[in-house]
Symmetry: C2
Subunit: 799 residues, 2 copies
């Protein structure tokens, strides 16, 4: 049997070059580092991927061991991490599975279908509840903060000494943010940020460790409450999507591994294929709760996750979304003492745009397109700045305590900047009849019966500010206020995204866009001396918000629908679509979308919809990893244990082959078995002796695999005695006997399409006689991407 290590080729241009073989050197902190010690003449840079934690030490130690230093910053954009495993989105149709499916009656399938619906309903309900909880707690905290600070300001406005108010404000904000940052940095770093990139990766098929755990959800929820109440330039909408996904992953499994509680229900759904479907529903429910956009939620899930459209699945996702927005709506209506009034469908509500007052005309279309282009440019600038900031953070701000300090610093600076701008602005507006306590007006140095409009913009929750920018009557803001606000908020938001706090970028983007959009509208009505159609700056605020958000996140159809649903008015469909399209085209020319940048910087092997356009000249032969470690149908336990224990190999699937006796040639494919399956087999000691007597007492069932899912123990935790090592293991019942295969000549786009459309994890490459010659995994495909100078190949790294 061929037991050669799986060796990752570095370059297809020099196959068989042994110098390209990665040498794994265990580091002290347990991570591994691969150094590709190729000669410079090979035409490839020397790439060294360092573990981020031990960065500085490694750079010095590296100097000794290699001659040429890498001439690039050791961020991870041009690398592909090997630490991310794939999810099995293709059913493992082994004998056990088929037997179970065949035993099941038509009625059984119907029951399964019904439980899927029940789960989706539950997902929607719980997601809605969480959204409701976050919303109410944030409101309460913000209210308390407002009262405290307001009283303090009122006390000091006349007597002087507002700096004390400033300090009070900054301290309040910093402490809230500190709490949020501490729980994220020390307890669950994966809960940082909006979670959208992580969910994108999960739906794409990449297993991001700990992303759908209960602990992550807890940290996320409390983290987002702290950071929003702490006055950071963040929103609570992005984290809702992540929260929904975690809820879905939890509910659908009918147990909590963290709480060690198994309800013994929904056991059928304990596999990646089914779980993904529910996570899609959860993400959709999250979007739906965040924006009151159930259709937008469905489209978000599809845009990010779908590889194959299924009507019933989509319909279920839609159901979860609807239930989610409905639950949120219902409970908020009770909270607001308007029980039964279902008019607040999401966390953010753009308010009603009356279609008559904000109609648009044909000759405004070019203006909208210009605004789209501005949004694209500003978005690209935002992403570019954030990109460099993130690299800086990867290099220098990687210790949890540093991260907490940075978050507190940002909170303090945000408070100070806001306060300074409020202090120096003298944009007083009359206090209208309809302004209630909820609008947090601050009088400051304004005359009685007036309020400071800059203070409103800064002091409100961002959601409220967006709404007032959309709907306040013309003249509510003066242009200078808006300009200054845009400028400061832009940089604050950019600095804030990527902090070690749970927070989203949707609302800040909308706010920046709404501010400059309103400014655009006001300037326009100056130049056209205020004729009626230009009169309403709220319309331009909406378009600006769409442009800015589109320029940053680059979502397409789903964002259009989310915006339309949040607006509650389909009239703006065409302008919003045009604006988003322009923003995307202009933005893509300069920089990638924010989420894509972060995914790349994490070196995630993310698969896009299609293979790069110019990749037809690559074939499976060049892409695949080879040689492959194979097993026989009946394999010696010792061999299996050794293979699994070998830390230098990292593939998780092993072809099962029929070896031709007395032949050195690779064997003929007869199946595929996963590391996780082998682990379960070893754990249950499903061994046969040479004489074929079964040693294990009971027949292994699908349930044993499901119980171990998804946290399969590592091979090190399984003890196999020396006697047992001599036993044999019969894999034929557990392997997938019909893995997908492709011939060696298959072009990369064709391999890619098969892989992506079916959500595969391993694809066998065979020769004309069905003998295994290689294995294609996600990383082999994700390596190739379109760079500026045509097709580029990413390097592989172990961290």
């Amino acid at each position: 049997m061929n037991m050669a290590n799986i060796t990752k080729k570095v370059s297809w241009s020099s196959r068989g070059d042994d110098s390209a073989r990665g040498e794994a050197t265990p580091l002290l902190n347990g991570t591994e580092e691969v150094r590709y010690t190729r000669q410079p003449s090979g035409g490839l840079f020397h790439i060294s991927r360092l573990s981020t934690v031990d960065l500085e030490e490694e750079i010095t130690s590296e100097e000794d061991s290699v001659r040429t230093r890498p001439n690039m910053i050791p961020h991870n954009e041009k690398l592909l991490s090997l630490k991310y495993e794939s999810l099995d989105y293709d059913n493992i149709e082994n004998q056990l599975f088929l037997e179970e499916e065949r035993r099941m009656s038509h009625m059984g399938f119907r029951c399964l279908e019904i439980s899927r619906w029940v789960i989706c309903g539950l997902i929607g309900f719980l997601t809605g509840l969480i959204a409701c909880f976050i919303d109410i707690v944030v409101e309460k905290l913000a209210g308390i903060k407002y009262i405290v600070v307001k009283q303090n300001i009122e006390k000091f406005t006349e007597v002087g000494g507002l700096s004390i108010s400033l300090i009070l404000w900054a301290v309040l904000n910093s402490s809230l943010v500190m709490v949020g940052a501490i729980i994220v940095a020390f307890f669950e770093p994966i809960a940082a940020g909006s979670g959208i990139p992580q969910i994108k990766c999960y739906l794409n098929g990449v297993k991001i460790p700990r992303v759908v755990r209960l602990k992550t959800l807890m940290v996320k929820v409390f983290g987002v409450i702290c950071s929003v109440a702490g006055g950071l330039a963040v929103g609570k909408e992005g984290p809702m999507i992540h929260s929904g996904a975690v809820v879905a992953a939890g509910v659908s499994q009918g147990r909590s591994t963290s709480l060690k509680k198994d309800f013994k229900i929904f056991e059928y759904f304990r596999r990646d294929t089914e779980k993904r479907d529910f996570v899609s529903a959860g993400a959709a429910a999250g979007v739906s709760a965040a924006f009151g956009a159930p259709v937008g939620g469905v489209l978000f899930s599809l845009e990010e996750g779908a590889s194959f459209w299924n009507q019933m699945l989509t319909w279920r996702i839609f159901f979860a979304s609807m239930i989610s927005t409905f639950t949120l709506n219902f409970f908020l209506s009770i909270y607001n003492n308007k029980t039964g009034d279902l008019s607040n469908p999401g966390l953010i509500n753009f308010g009603r745009f009356d279609s008559d007052s904000v109609a648009y005309n044909l000759y405004e279309i070019p203006l909208f397109i210009i605004m789209g282009a501005i949004g694209g440019l500003l978005g690209a600038l935002f992403n570019f700045l954030n990109y460099w900031l993130t690299i800086f953070r990867i290099r220098y701000v990687h210790r949890p305590c540093l991260q907490v300090i940075e978050a507190m610093l940002v909170a303090a600076v945000t408070a100070t900047v806001s306060f300074t701008m409020i202090y120096f602005s003298n944009d007083c507006q009359p206090l209208g009849q309809d302004q209630t306590k909820d609008d947090y007006p601050l009088q400051l140095f304004c005359a009685d019966g007036e309020y400071n409009s800059m203070a409103t913009a800064f002091f409100n929750t961002p959601e409220r500010s967006v709404r007032s920018l959309f709907h306040n009557p013309p003249g509510s803001y003066n242009p200078l206020t808006l300009g200054l606000f845009t400028l400061t908020y832009f940089f604050l938001a950019c600095w804030t995204y990527g902090l070690t706090v749970s927070a989203g970028v949707f609302i800040p983007s909308l706010l920046i866009g709404a501010a400059w959009g309103r400014l655009f509208g006001i300037l326009l009505s100056y130049f056209t001396s205020g004729s009626s159609i230009w009169a309403d700056p709220g319309k331009y605020a909406l378009i600006g918000a769409a442009a800015q958000l589109g320029g940053i996140v680059r979502m397409t159809l789903s964002l259009t629908v989310i915006m339309v649903e949040a607006t509650g008015n389909v009239t703006f469909g065409l302008p919003i679509m045009l604006v988003l399209m322009t923003a995307k085209i202009v933005g893509d020319y300069f920089a990638e979308g924010l989420y894509d940048i972060h995914i790349k910087l994490q070196s995630v092997p993310f698969l896009h919809y299609e293979a790069p356009a110019t990749s037809h000249w690559l074939t499976a032969r060049e892409v695949m990893s080879s040689p492959v470690t194979c097993f026989n149908k009946v394999e010696k336990v010792g061999t299996i244990v050794n293979t699994l224990s070998n830390t230098s190999t990292n593939h998780n699937g092993f072809p099962v082959v029929i070896q031709i006796p007395d032949s050195d040639e690779p064997g003929m494919v007869c199946g595929l078995i996963l590391r996780s399956q082998l682990i379960v087999l070893l754990k249950h000691k499903v061994f046969v002796e040479r004489a074929r007597t079964r040693l294990s007492q009971r027949k292994l069932q699908l349930k044993d695999f499901r119980d171990a899912y998804p946290r399969f123990p590592p091979i090190q935790s399984i003890h196999v005695s020396q006697d047992e090592r001599e036993c044999m293991m019969d894999l034929s019942e557990f392997m997938n006997p019909t893995p997908y295969t492709v011939p060696q000549e298959t072009s990369l786009p064709r391999v890619f399409k098969l892989f992506r459309a079916l959500g595969l994890r391993h694809l066998l490459v065979v020769d004309s006689e069905n003998r295994v010659v290689g294995l294609v995994t996600r990383k082999d495909l994700a390596r190739y991407h379109m760079g500026k100078h045509g097709l580029e190949e990413l390097q592989l790294a172990q961290t």
Copy 2:
């Protein structure tokens, strides 16, 4: 080489049973009939599929030849027609194709991408124009008809003799319908109906002959004008979807085969894969123009057609939809003298629902669900009646002249029934200030200043009636009028659908639903003595319309979005969704959706999203057709011509194999070649002599295949001399060298998933040594479906 005929096994339960082999008997009319002459002991019914045209003769002639007569009606529901070929939604990646792709630069791909956008823009624009044309012509014709009939009625109302008015009306309508029916029945029968089932099939991958031709479009457009203006209970929305698809198929090819005009552009797109993408865009543009629902259009295309979601494709489809609704809107605004006012986005416009006046409350939800159930029941009844009617039509009304007469009859009956109901109703309503000439009020026997409301409901175009049911103030209709109207219109619409005219079922369904929904609302306000929340019956009309439409067509997400977009208000999202869901669940319990029924009655091999749930115990071995006709890499021309000319085989793909010398075993797969490719090769005489001298002067290029696409000539039209038959043909350059293969043990769901997700046409089944043992095509998979008693197998028929 194995030259056995491709024999379709009838039953997997008795493989190798030669008695199951179909015997092809050429009939006089050129169609073929297969009789499965199995013994009754085999447990299978004796099925005889007869050509519908020669039905009666065949029944008599059949009596002689077989002993047991089939004990079932010879409709085609339990059959699968072999006459429908599949489309190649998987790229044929042969050497020529790969060479072209590899030659193309990054810039070249970008240009292609831009031309895709241009084409989508064009598709949207032209579809919008067509919608506009249909709308304006129908309005004009209806206006003329109204004036003529009105004058006549006014003349006779006082003096008596209204029967003359009736006759005038009936004759006018019948003649219009006659014109419409004649062009459909005699020139292009495929243009009958709404065209939605046909487009569903096309997007699913079934080649419906002539469905996307220019002639079909012409007949469709004029047919729909005639049938709508002729006062039938039909809508013009369904045909718009078909029209959009035809426009897309035409524009994207850069030529018209019918007009023999080749613009020499867009040649790259001349293959099924690319064409399908554009047809999706066209269908979406059609929906968008029909309902002003661009997002709904995209979702419709995805729900019906998508196998694989691609962000850029979806975005392009959305672009086409937007352009389409925008174009329609713009030109209609010019027509209505309100240039630049973009408030009429679709052919049907539900009018603005003011969100305040029609808010709903929590306790109305159960009512909505009840309405959904009613809609589901009525929909199932509608479908059931229409099913039997269609079977009746297949049996007895298959001659074109009979079809025209039936259409005229329906038109006359519709006119008579309407007239009678108007005549006997005395539901007079005061003529409001806002009613203009456009509302076609008829005074009849009402007092001056009043009008007959029944006349309004019947005399208006259905679109107007729907709108007035939604928006007319409470009290505009009395309950008896509505009840009678619902009843008559229900049966009229049911009779009308399936006539040989171009017409859609959307609007009649909406109208029926709106009528009983309004009735429901009125009754409700009676019982609750008119408290404010129940006051507006328009809300219930909307819910009723959704319920009825959902009960008939059973669309899910797309219909929800279409309804929401047509309403212009997202508030109703949740109720509409609940209603559609209930209607679908209730309806599915009793009967299938209308489109599915018609697809089944056409015996189309339609592939659903997933394999039947209980089909895990079937494997590729049982599903596949075998033995398979294979070719060698270098094959004798005579052999190829003979194989292609053999009328008893009907597979269109041939595996290319490497035969082991002096062996009877099947050869190893090395490629797959299509009938259409072989035809082009034969036509261009790409022969080599035994001595390998190339006979053809020039190297065959991809262009030659594209020029022949999509109407490849039949083999009979290609003359191959006796000398040429002795030559050889080298297939290696033209075959697809990397066809997808599966092992024999692969379960049906797995085969299905691969086949459906990648849009395959042929899937090779191989043994463990990569030798061809069978071929799976669409029909092999579509045969299995869930019946009432578990998994059922459909029989195959040649017509």
